[in-house]
Symmetry: C2
Subunit: 215 residues, 2 copies
């Protein structure tokens, strides 16, 4: 049914390649070898070639890689050429910030709506979009063919809301709630656990200090 499965380790590196190649392209650089890219990105040339080869040969022996071509191919792999309808569930600080801050449209996402159960927010305009009550969520998702839900609601409600959204046909979650969602494997979940990330930072700061300072 499918080709060989690509590991998430590789997928996780693609956006960074994409970013560097975009910059190289903007600088007008036309070709690059895995060794040159290795020097810039501080990863091994071997890893770069292995990673790209998961998707077939993008390069030319003796020449290297065409920057623009490679950039576009990685964009396609990441699905940036496809449109995805997206909603934000939870119009608190974080939900509003993401609506305003993320350049959704530039990456193929169509921002279709934002929902909250706080009546004080209903009707408030967030990026030309009025906050809708949660009561309208289910019908909206079903009728507007929504693919992705950004969850910026408290963890107490996130699991139940996610389960309902799965029934309504959501394909993936960008989950900022501090819980693990309980959804079928066919549903994709990308977690952004901000406080976890901050804890990793303090661990590393403290450990560095313990190893090097007063000990």
């Amino acid at each position: 049914m499918e080709g060989k499965e690509i590991s998430q380790a590789v997928i996780g590196r693609l956006p960074r390649y994409f970013r560097y190649l975009g910059e190289l392209k903007d600088e007008g650089i036309e070709r690059i070898s895995s060794q040159e890219l290795s020097d810039i990105m501080k990863v091994t040339a071997s890893q770069i070639r292995q990673d790209f080869n998961n998707f077939g040969g993008f390069g030319q022996q003796g020449y290297g890689y065409k920057v623009e071509y490679l950039y576009e191919e990685i964009g396609k792999i990441l699905g940036l050429d496809k449109k995805h309808n997206l909603i934000i569930v939870g119009a608190g600080n974080l939900g509003q910030a993401l609506a305003n801050y993320m350049n959704f449209e530039r990456r193929g996402f169509l921002f279709k709506g934002i929902f909250d159960n706080n009546p004080a927010l209903h009707g408030k305009k967030i990026r030309d979009m009025e906050v809708k009550p949660m009561e309208e969520l289910q019908e909206f998702v079903r009728e507007n063919d929504i693919d992705i839900a950004v969850l910026t609601i408290p963890k107490t409600s996130a699991v139940a809301v996610a389960e309902q959204l799965v029934k309504d046909g959501i394909k993936g979650f960008w989950n900022f709630a501090h819980v693990d969602l309980n959804v079928p494997k066919r549903i994709q979940v990308e977690n952004v656990h901000l406080s976890d990330s901050l804890m990793k930072l303090t661990y590393n700061i403290n450990r560095y200090e313990e190893e090097n300072n007063v000990h």
Copy 2:
């Protein structure tokens, strides 16, 4: 000088353990075996025991682990018992949202200031803290013993600002800017590249569809 280095793979799992143990503790559960925790968290019991043993034995043979003790020990490992002075650099949507949304104080972080170069924001109150101009950043960091800078500024200025902050004595960055910072290895950096995360999500959604739908 130090003990054996703990891999970042292990560190990355600690916050999740910490979260689950906190919940178990709140439910009044006193002891848990690696097997029970394995069932709840969907990771192998073997991995749980290996992970904990990186830091010495927290359990008791034949009994399991004391939930509260384990919870506290992991908290200490993550450095949550230590205070860290923190500032936010960039008071746009994301910077403001993080100031309001993150419960910094609850995890040992002292929110000391927020900076922006937009004069329209200067003096605006964000969580009882007035936005200060970037001109005051350097002196502020030096005089207030700031450990962590949250970077929510555009990528065009992030690298230079980070380099300056390193000179001013910053120990770690929580970096939301979409660039790789160029800082000495002794400085800890935790990147949160939101758009990268979203790209991984679309990759996985698209790939699932290609494998299972029309193909």
